[in-house]
């Protein structure tokens, strides 16, 4: 405050010195004229007039008037807070809780929902493609369709495509596995990205036989080449091929799907590459909306659909959506839910502080009256209370930001992988500005009530207080039901039967490097299998190309699964059926029961054996009234049939929420290509098994990166995101409940104090303690009831939002609402019980005497 003091008092101190100087000069002159010193001095003073008054005049002008009185307000408010530390601490902590939670959540959802993507004019970037539920959860375009779209589209300035990101090996001294991304030459231009060094691709570089060139990411440039600008024009050996580096991407470059990458290489796209798909993007022309673009592309889509593979054709639809939606769709609902939940917590906190301030204002009515009598204007008094509220909000904001910092660390620590952009969340200037803004808004919000109420009547104040309680109960109700619904869903999700036994199974996943020739990978798998079977403590081992319960299952159109002696199904009928290629141990390792026939044996793996095991659902669909064992089906293009040898129980394949899909199994011959899962069931400690598995694989290829996890962990990942949301929402609901309880307690306690005299009279006139307690409980009951009704209505609306969070929110959650209402009523009664009891025990003699 020293600088403030100096600012205000600088000129004023000068005037003091100046006046002193004047007086001395006049006195000296008087003395020269022959007066005695004392008289000379007093005459000087008399001639000057009232020095103190003049000094004060000048001082008042210079102490910026508003600054002066604001400083006065602040000083006064701080003294008041100092006198009631309990109140101050409660208010600041409540605000800190609200602001801290809101800020932490904002720092996370801001990146997801609001902050601009790191592309210029990113609002005009859209993802374009067809959505075929059978194929992928995101839109894509077959290469042929993309090329046609690009040639004939009208709504975009330009279109671009991304083919895929895959592993590639930098085969130089010090070889390293990199991630290479194939994009077409227009990708960077469309996104508005410019290389910081070197140049972009040119149109001649994504055609067949074009020069082999690559753009390097900033990260790779720094880590491997120490930011050397001489890298431009240098030739790297990638997968044994020479590739010339033509540029370096900016530091903040990110792919549309945020996946990490090291090199961008041109994708060569040709119309005859049937079966190949790309992700396509467009930059909208100015003024064109995504909806208009979709309409403009519809005829092209219809045309390309006709040429499409039949199984896709029926369900496919055209999608044109903003890039942000493409990126964050899966976490959008979560983000909104958390944002709304935390806004509710903040409102509850504000309501609490407003109630505290109201109670305090009632206690200070006398003080305010005195100040008004001494000449303070109503506006001035209102400003004083507002200053106090803002100071409380400021204190809350400071404490809240520290809390937010801790909470954010905590969120990041407990969050599951794959929450988009969570790792980027931090308390930067934008987030702090948000915290400051909500604190100001909160301060104004909860300060307004007492500021206006300073004059209005007691009844209105009581109404406001009770209204706040009602609002708190309603808000808590929404939070509680939301958390309850999420928890219920989570509970049911974790009990979805998987159709397999995940206990004591360890899974390892690896992708062989590109250096593996087919012969070498066959040799690799041939050696791996006996090694697994010899592993000490392994009860069963298997290799497969994919694993339940999610991700990466291969699929064929159902219509190709023809049965011998029956007419072929029409092309495209019946959707898709998934299949896995497995070794014989698979069913034993995963504990999947064989319902009929048998599982695979070694002889089923011989070339030409062609055995097939059907999943139960598929078997029922193909052979509804007959025994499938021994039937011949699924003719290969060369005319050979597969023989059904067994039927296995169904296993969850599409995560926990999607409907069960059809599935069959093929016996692996000796190579599984370049990627596989290894499964081991063992009674030993999973960590030890994981270590042994690594050793076995390293014994074959020491440089092969292996991803090992227990099957339990893998299944647990499915419920991580709902668990995360449920956990956070429960936390907020808990905070809301505590706030509501404190609010009710505060209001009732205050009322008991206010009405002590009335209670005394009642008791004196014969009211029993229970009559008195009932008086207050009835009061709380009414307002809580109103809050519950309001909360119920709001919860029903919120339930829809929650339902988008998770596909299953089974049933209508009636019991969740009942439970939430019961909990809240209980808390409200408990919170009002203590002060009500105190009221009941008021000694009439003593209260009446104090008056």
């Amino acid at each position: 405050m020293n600088w403030l003091r100096r600012l205000i008092h600088h000129r004023a101190d000068e005037i003091h010195e100046e006046i002193e100087c004047h007086l001395e000069m006049r006195a000296a002159m008087n003395a020269e004229m022959g007066m005695p010193p004392a008289e000379a001095r007093s005459r000087a003073r008399r001639a000057f007039g009232n020095a103190a008054l003049i000094e004060e005049d000048v001082r008042r002008i210079h102490a910026l008037p508003w600054l002066g009185s604001v400083a006065q307000d602040i000083g006064y408010a701080l003294r008041c807070f100092g006198r009631s530390p309990g109140f101050t601490l409660a208010a600041v902590l409540t605000m800190a809780l609200g602001i801290g939670a809101a800020t932490a959540v904002f720092s996370v959802v801001d990146r997801i929902l609001f902050r601009a993507l790191p592309y210029p004019d990113a609002g005009r970037l859209v993802s374009v493609g067809m959505l075929a539920p059978a194929a992928d959860t995101n839109e894509f375009l077959p290469v042929e369709a993309y090329l046609m779209f690009r040639r004939r589209q009208t709504p975009f300035v330009r279109m671009a495509s991304f083919a895929f990101t895959s592993g590639c090996d930098l085969t130089e001294t010090n070889p390293v596995r990199l991630r290479c991304t194939q994009v077409d030459a227009d990708y960077l231009t469309t996104f508005g990205i410019r290389p910081i060094v070197g140049r972009n691709f040119t149109p001649g570089e994504d055609v067949p036989g074009g020069p082999k060139v690559a753009l390097m990411t900033y990260g790779l440039w720094m880590s491997r080449f120490a930011g050397d600008r001489g890298i431009i024009g240098r030739t790297l050996a990638v997968d044994g091929q020479p590739i010339t580096v033509i540029g370096v991407l900016p530091r903040d470059f990110e792919l549309f799907n945020l996946s990490p990458t090291d090199l961008l290489v041109p994708a060569v796209l040709l119309p005859n590459q049937s079966g190949r798909v790309v992700r396509a993007f467009g930059r909208l022309k100015p003024g064109v909306t995504a909806g208009q673009a979709r309409a403009a592309l519809a005829p092209l889509f219809e045309e390309s659909r006709r040429a499409m593979w039949a199984p896709f054709r029926s369900g496919a639809s055209l999608v044109v959506r903003p890039l942000r939606d493409r990126q964050v769709w899966t976490v959008r609902a979560t983000s909104w839910t958390l944002a709304i939940a935390v806004a509710l917590v903040l409102l509850l906190a504000c309501a609490n502080v407003a109630n505290l301030l109201l109670a305090r204002a009632a206690g200070r009515r006398r003080e305010m009256a005195v100040r008004q009598a001494l000449g303070a204007s109503r506006a001035r008094l209102a400003r004083q209370t507002l200053t106090e509220s803002l100071l409380l909000a400021l204190g809350g904001a400071l404490a809240g930001c520290s809390l937010a910092w801790a909470l954010l660390r905590f969120f990041i620590a407990i969050a599951p992988d794959g929450i988009t952009r969570l790792d980027q969340a931090s308390l930067d200037a934008r987030v702090l500005a948000f915290a400051a803004a909500i604190s100001m808004a909160a301060g104004l919000f909860f300060g307004l009530a007492p500021a206006l109420q300073a004059e209005t009547n007691v009844r209105a104040a009581g109404l406001v207080r009770h209204g706040l309680i009602t609002a708190q109960i309603a808000g808590s109700m929404v939070l509680l039901t939301g958390a309850g619904l999420l928890l219920r869903t989570l509970w049911s999700l974790e009990r979805v039967p998987l159709g397999m036994d995940t206990e004591r199974v360890v899974a390892a996943h690896f992708v062989l490097s590109r250096g593996y020739t087919p012969a070498r990978s066959t040799a690799f798998f041939d050696q791996l299998e006996p090694r697994l079977n010899r592993m000490p403590g392994a009860a069963a081992a298997a290799i497969s190309d994919s694993l339940p319960p999610y991700g990466g299952i291969m699929a064929t159109p159902y219509s190709l699964l023809n049965v011998e002696g029956r007419p072929r199904l029409p092309e495209g009928a019946g959707g898709m059926a998934g299949y896995r290629t497995i070794t014989p141990g698979y069913f034993a390792v995963l504990g999947i029961p064989i319902l009929r026939g048998r599982g695979f044996r070694q002889q089923d793996r011989a070339p030409g054996a062609a055995a097939i095991v059907l999943g139960e659902a598929l078997a029922k669909r193909l052979f509804p009234h007959e025994d499938p064992i021994g039937k011949r089906m699924f003719q290969s293009p060369d005319g050979a049939w597969h023989t059904v040898v067994g039927v296995a129980a169904d296993v969850r394949n599409n995560g926990l929420t999607a409907p069960q899909s059809l599935e069959y199994y093929l016996a692996a011959n000796h190579s599984l290509g370049n990627a596989a899962y290894v499964l081991v069931r063992s009674p030993l400690d999973p960590q030890a098994v994981a270590k042994m598995l690594r050793t076995q694989i390293a014994g074959l290829d020491a440089s092969l990166p292996v991803d090992v996890q227990t099957l339990r962990e893998r299944v647990g990942k499915l419920t991580e995101t709902p668990r995360f949301s449920a956990f956070l929402l429960s936390g907020f609901a808990g905070a809301g409940l505590i706030l509501a309880a404190i609010g009710i307690y505060g209001v009732i306690a205050f009322q008991v104090n206010q009405r002590a005299r009335e209670i005394g009279v009642r008791t004196a006139l014969g009211a029993t303690p229970s009559d008195v307690a009932k008086l207050f409980l009835w009061d709380v009951g009414r307002w809580t009831g109103a809050g519950l009704v309001l909360g119920l209505a709001a919860s029903l609306a919120a339930q829809r939002l929650i339902a988008t969070l998770l596909v299953v929110a089974r049933g209508n959650g009636r019991w969740t609402f009942v439970a939430a209402a019961a909990i809240l009523s209980g808390v409200a009664l408990a919170a009002s019980y203590i002060p009500s009891r105190r009221a009941a025990r008021i000694d009439p003699a003593r209260t009446l005497r104090t008056e």
């Binding site: 100087c21 004047h22 007039g49 008054l53």
Partner: protein
């Protein structure tokens, strides 16, 4: 709007400074002698006036050491102050002349 007394005092101060820079006490003496006691003001009222002029940027002030070794705040004209003085003198002369004519006519 400043009162006519304030304006008169401002004009007197500016006129005094026309003769050269002065400290506060140094301004008081000439005002009292020049106006021959016709304008009697408390010496103190000079300071709010000086402060007002300073804030209006008509005068500027600087702490200096007087010949007899005392620290004093010395005031001088600014360009704006000079202009204001010219304008004020003119309007004052015009007013005085006008008032003079009216008085003569009336008599």
């Amino acid at each position: 709007m400043a009162s006519s007394l304030e304006r008169t005092l401002d004009l007197l101060i500016l006129k005094t400074l026309h003769g050269g820079a002065h400290h506060g006490f140094g301004i008081t003496v000439p005002i009292q002698s020049v106006s021959e006691g016709l304008v009697r003001v408390e010496e103190g009222s000079l300071y709010p006036a000086l402060d007002r002029l300073e804030r209006a940027k008509l005068v500027k002030a600087k702490w200096q050491t007087t010949p007899n070794g005392r620290r004093a705040r010395v005031y001088s004209f600014t360009a704006a102050g000079r202009k204001r003085l010219g304008a004020a003198e003119e309007s004052w002369t015009a007013l005085a002349r006008g008032v003079g004519k009216v008085l003569r006519f009336a008599s």
